[in-house]
């Protein structure tokens, strides 16, 4: 018998100007999800059930880039993907290109448990979701005003952005008043102005 352990993440690559209240908001979500996992482990849930449970919670919260609050495609839609792996027997399941499944990680779990395959994508994944009664919603459910704004920024900067949270109100974090055409990492230099 060993001690249990759990780790969660909400993405790497953080905007250096992320406002303090957004940082606190993110930490609260992480702490809440961590506590959910700790309670499940104390109730002796198996590891594979705990990781699914915690990622579902992270997908349901719009703060991070998954499920509700997902980054948007060039067309302004949400197209999500997920995978899960059980170290016992190295069983695994994955999905890509899902646009209506409320919790992609649970669909990946269904692929692992209920299909002869390890990966389903796009129309096949959506069909499998309905076959197995996974909860489905409109694509709008995943789209937030914040991310619409960030997509606009990304298009203006003509770039593809990583897990990146740029403050929605640039003025209160970047002193530059005159728009400087200079770009860095594909983003307007004004985003980095305070540095």
């Amino acid at each position: 018998m060993v001690g249990w352990a759990i780790a969660v993440h909400g993405g790497a690559g953080v905007d250096p100007n992320l406002p303090h209240h957004r940082q606190e908001e993110a930490k609260q979500v992480l702490a809440r999800c961590l506590n959910m996992g700790i309670s499940a482990l104390r109730s002796s849930l198996p590891a594979v059930d705990v990781v699914e449970l915690v990622v579902r919670e992270l997908e349901s919260d719009p703060v991070f880039n998954s499920g509700r609050g997902s980054a948007l495609t060039e067309k302004g839609t949400a197209e999500m993907e997920a995978s899960i792996m059980d170290g016992v027997g190295r069983r695994c399941g994955a999905v890509s290109g899902v646009t209506t499944v409320k919790n992609p990680i649970s669909l990946a779990r269904l692929v692992m448990d209920k299909s002869p395959h390890s990966y389903l994508a796009f129309a096949g994944a959506e069909e499998f979701a309905r076959l197995h009664g996974a909860e489905v919603v409109d694509n709008d459910y995943f789209i937030t005003e914040d991310n619409k704004g960030m997509l606009k920024l990304a298009k203006e900067a003509n770039t593809i952005m990583f897990d990146y949270r740029i403050p929605t109100v640039l003025s209160d974090t970047c002193g530059a008043s005159v728009e400087n055409p200079l770009q860095m990492n594909g983003l307007p230099i004004s985003v980095y102005a305070p540095e």
């Binding site: 249990w4 993440h9 930490k27 993907e81 997920a82």
Partner: protein, 130 residues
């Protein structure tokens, strides 16, 4: 991208990763998160979940490499995470969380920050960003 890795009291490891991908990505683009061995991996030794530049994580088979260097080089969990982040990413930017069957947690990233939280049965709890 979000992820969770767990080792339970019976020493069983598991990993899960979920994402919306990249802002302004092309439709049909697939990143590292759904690729077993790249963004997600779990075996008898450890569980790993990655995030960051998907293309770099895929080319480095990042999650599987943590398990591989533990298995073949005999590295401990954090040493394996540090090795992989340092040696396998080339110019790419990424981060990862990991647990081992011995009840350890590990984390590594070469970005300016990573949203993360850890807890172990002996009472250690940490939530961090930078």
């Amino acid at each position: 991208t979000v992820g969770c890795v767990v080792v339970d009291a019976q020493g069983r490891c598991a990993a899960a990763t979920s994402t919306g991908g990249l802002m302004n990505k092309m439709c049909g683009r697939i990143g590292d998160s759904p690729l077993i061995g790249a963004g997600t991996y779990a075996c008898g030794l450890c569980g790993v979940s990655c995030t960051g530049e998907g293309e770099a994580i895929i080319r480095g088979t990042l999650a599987r490499d943590v398990a591989a260097v533990m298995e073949y080089k005999g590295l401990g969990l954090q040493a394996a995470v540090d090795f992989v982040v340092k040696e396998r990413l080339d110019e790419g930017k990424a981060g990862m969380i990991a647990v081992s069957r011995n009840g350890e947690v590990g984390c590594g990233f070469n970005t300016n920050g990573m949203f993360r939280g850890f807890a172990t049965e002996d009472g250690f709890v940490e939530v961090g960003i930078w």
